[in-house]
């Protein structure tokens, strides 16, 4: 019944101006192959990928150039053909501005594919397919970059998967890459959903989309007309409806408990771009090589681009005409959860879904930060139903145990609290600080425990050696005569003296 269609609404959230029409006027433009490709080895959650090529090697498009290191890791592939120019630390898109290991490929423009074959997952079976997926390099393309093969488990803690929720919400303002993907490539999406449906044996699939994406909704409705397994759920446009747990609540009315994965309750969620990537891998053997990125905001020609990973960001921004009002500030991600890029001499990575050229009002920093007036608007806005004001008071005074008690780690850092705060307090900054501090403290505690153990072991080892030495001496004394003993001592003393002379000579030379 239409009345009960949106019966589940999470607490809080905000309704900000979405600014989506800035970048939806044009279609997705395929960006040319750049002269250089810079691939960071860490574009995902988990361990750094292990390089398996050398400088000077010729690589083909789609060739595996770095393996996933263990289960929580992802592979990296060459997005186009060329020569490995160098492997060095270069600037990456990270809030710290620190460099990290990258593989630089000098492209030859030929774009020669490696020998790619479709994956006959039905023939080779589930296990082997998951192993191949580990080397597909596919990670969550919604911005979280979680390795997707870890989410392609059929069972979790014994619970069988029943529902696939396709995250088409794209709740952050300014970002439109998923919207354009759905408008232009909805067939690939539907085929991908069907593939996942068969592969993981879901019972139903639901596409959850926000109500402001009117064209995409129409395209999807047409595409799923005859699909009995797929249904469409339109959710109201409230940020952050795209957050996994919030979207599950909006779609199914189920609140995923703390410390539980949604798959333990039979629900799995994927972003639309990730589903298309998985589809292309299984259907055509194409690993994850490119993504759609939105260039928007204070920019002359805003639009969406399809770019290869590793493309220098500068070139894309130049193609989009550059900034209208020059302020040299670009935000990676959305305005609520993104971060300001320390520089644009960085490559496009799997996490980069949007670059917002900062509008002047985003940089307005003359409003003073007043003390907290305890109005509790932040608590009203928090989608996780936390008490941000309490977290703020404790983080500010660095009472880290109390912050943890008040459920700091449930915070998804969505920014709703900072958005509504009348005193302009940057609340999320305090939570990020507190989280880093607590994690670092836990690490230090662990390291201290190990050091303590090693120290205790050493002390007991010394004890043991002392006892053994005493026993040995007692034995030897009983055996050796005094003459032989003094001869041994003399020889040892001579050897030490020679060594000391050698060292002093070498030491003198060195100085």
């Amino acid at each position: 019944m239409k009345l009960f269609e949106n019966i589940f609404k999470f607490n809080g959230g905000i309704q900000a101006e979405t600014h989506k029409t800035i970048s939806t006027a044009e279609t997705i433009k395929k960006f040319d192959i750049p002269k250089k490709i810079i691939l960071p080895l860490r574009q995902h959650i988990g361990r750094l990928a292990k390089i398996n090529v050398n400088i000077g090697d010729y690589v083909l498009k789609g060739q595996l150039i770095a393996n996933a290191d263990g289960n929580v890791s992802a592979a990296i592939h060459a997005p186009t053909s060329g020569y490995i120019e160098s492997i060095e630390k270069l600037p990456i898109p990270h809030p710290s501005g620190l460099p990290d290991f990258c593989v630089v490929i000098k492209t030859d423009g030929k774009d020669t594919w490696v020998d790619k074959k479709p994956i006959q997952w039905k023939k080779i079976g589930y296990q082997k397919t998951v192993e191949l997926l580990i080397s597909s390099g596919i990670v969550g393309l919604g911005g979280a970059t979680f390795p997707s093969h870890l989410k392609l488990t059929k069972k979790d803690h014994g619970a069988k998967l029943t529902t696939l929720i396709v995250n088409a919400a794209e709740c952050e303002p300014y970002i439109t890459c998923d919207d354009m993907l759905m408008r232009e490539r909805v067939d690939e999406l539907i085929r991908g959903i069907n593939l996942l449906h068969d592969f993981l044996e879901f019972e139903e699939s639901i596409i959850s989309i926000e109500d402001n994406k009117i064209e995409a909704i129409e395209k999807i409705k047409n595409a799923i007309k005859n699909e009995k397994n797929i249904s469409l759920k339109i959710v109201p446009t409230i940020y952050p409806s795209g957050d996994a747990k919030r979207l599950i609540y909006l779609t199914k009315g189920i609140k995923i408990p703390k410390n539980t994965r949604s798959s333990e309750l039979g629900i799995q969620m994927f972003n639309v771009a990730t589903i298309v990537a998985i589809y292309r891998f299984l259907e055509f053997g194409e690993p994850s090589l490119s993504r759609i990125i939105t260039i928007t905001g204070n920019i002359k020609k805003p639009r969406n681009y399809e770019v290869l990973f590793g493309t220098p960001l500068e070139e894309i921004i130049a193609d989009a005409g550059g900034q209208k009002i020059n302020n040299q500030t670009f935000i990676m991600g959305g305005p609520m959860m993104g971060f300001a890029l320390p520089s644009i001499q960085v490559p496009v990575t799997k996490a980069m879904n949007c670059i917002i050229s900062a509008e002047p009002k985003m940089l307005k920093n003359d409003a003073p930060v007043l003390p907290c007036i305890r109005c509790a608007r932040c608590a009203e806005a928090c989608p996780v139903e936390l008490q941000p004001q309490e977290l703020y008071w404790f983080s500010k005074s660095k009472q880290l145990d109390k912050v943890e008690e008040y459920n700091l780690f449930d915070c998804i850092e969505c920014g709703c609290c900072s958005y509504v705060c009348p005193s302009n307090i940057p609340l999320v900054q305090y939570y990020r600080f507190a989280k880093s501090e607590i994690i670092e403290e836990r690490q230090h505690q662990e390291e201290a425990n190990i050091a303590r153990e090693r120290n205790e072991f050493r002390l007991s080892r010394l004890e043991r050696e002392k006892i053994e030495r005493a026993e040995r001496n007692a034995q030897r004394r009983a055996q050796t005569s005094s003459d032989e003993k003094s001869k041994l001592v003399e020889e040892k003393r001579k050897a030490i003296q020679e060594a000391m002379q050698r060292v002093n000579k070498e030491g003198g030379e060195k100085l």
Partner: protein, 329 residues
């Protein structure tokens, strides 16, 4: 935005905007009061505003705080206006000045300034005035003789030796004293000082202002609704049990600045609780205390003391009323 961290967009509501809307919501009540009882209330408001601004400026300078952001957040002015509308409009000038100074200096800045005061500053000022100058604080303007502008000026600056011509007790005060004289309650209630007292209209104007604040989402419904509901329930309870000694609910709701308290005084964000359940409990207890003070206490009106007492309990209320987090059981 402050430094280069998300979020990079911000809602436009600021502290000064919130305080400004509170002032706007007070205006209908002030105008009605002016119309019915003369200009006294405006003198009080103007004097209070000037005193408060000067006092806050001096204190901020003394504390080495930046003056501009704190002075322009209007929070001191809200305190001043709330105090000015709570005291009799025919009081001399030094009453409001002393009250304002106490509110700003002692109740607000000695505790840490904006956002740090433990007690509601307006109520602290009112309580100090009530205890120190009970005679003047209980002389309210009579409904039958509207004070002229010149007379009001004279009253304001020089006071008066005898207030009999223009002052009278409030309805609450009158009922209390008359009941002590063992008069019949229905008779008392029928007298014009209670039945036709125009102070009721001031209350209604405050009610409208309060509803405006709820509509603009400056305050939530928890505090006012719980307060009025509790007062209604307990008054009806006592009235049903013993109609001869306890007035019915409409008397309690319409008299004594109940609507002012419900929408403006107990909703002070800094000294009140922050959780929804906490707010409901706070308003419930304030209403109970107000009723008990009205009936059994020494003062005819008990809002100031009730609010101050519950302010002490707020940290505990907050701690015990933490709501359930999403996904926790």
């Amino acid at each position: 935005m402050i430094s280069n961290q998300s979020p990079f967009v911000q809602d436009t509501t600021s502290v000064s905007f919130i305080m400004f809307l509170v002032l706007v919501a007070l205006i209908p009540g002030i105008l009605v009061h002016c119309f019915l009882f003369g200009y006294g209330i405006l003198f009080n408001i103007i004097t209070a505003t000037i005193t408060v601004v000067i006092a806050e400026y001096l204190i901020l300078k003394a504390r080495n705080y930046p003056v501009k952001p704190f002075l322009t957040d209007y929070s001191a002015i809200v305190t001043a206006w709330l105090l000015a509308v709570s005291i009799p409009s025919i009081a001399p000038w030094w009453i409001i000045v002393i009250g304002s100074l106490f509110s700003i200096i002692f109740a607000k800045h000695f505790y840490g300034g904006l956002g740090s005061n433990l007690f509601n500053p307006a109520m602290v000022g009112y309580a100090i005035l009530l205890i120190s100058f009970p005679a003047i604080m209980t002389k309210w303007p009579s409904a039958y003789s509207s004070v002229s502008f010149d007379d009001q000026l004279k009253l304001f600056f020089f006071g008066m030796s005898s207030y009999d011509a223009i002052a009278s007790a409030t309805p609450l005060d009158y009922l209390k004293t008359e009941l002590l004289l063992n008069k019949n309650i229905d008779q008392i209630l029928a007298e014009p000082i209670i039945k036709a007292n125009p102070l009721i209209w001031v209350g209604v104007a405050y009610l409208l202002g309060g509803l405006f604040l709820i509509y603009k989402k400056i305050i939530t419904w928890h505090l006012p609704l719980t307060y009025l509901l509790t007062l209604f329930l307990i008054a009806s309870l006592f009235n049903l049990a013993n109609p001869n000694n306890f007035a019915p609910f409409y008397y309690h709701l319409l008299n004594g600045g109940t609507f002012l308290a419900a929408f403006f005084i107990i909703t002070d964000p800094v000294s009140g609780p922050t959780t929804p359940k906490g707010k409901i409990f706070f308003a419930f207890m304030v209403a109970m205390l107000v009723y008990l003070i009205r009936i059994f206490g020494g003062y005819p009106e008990g809002i100031a003391f009730a609010v101050i007492f519950m302010n002490i309990c707020v940290p505990l209320i907050d701690k015990l009323s933490q709501p359930k987090v999403f996904g926790h059981d």
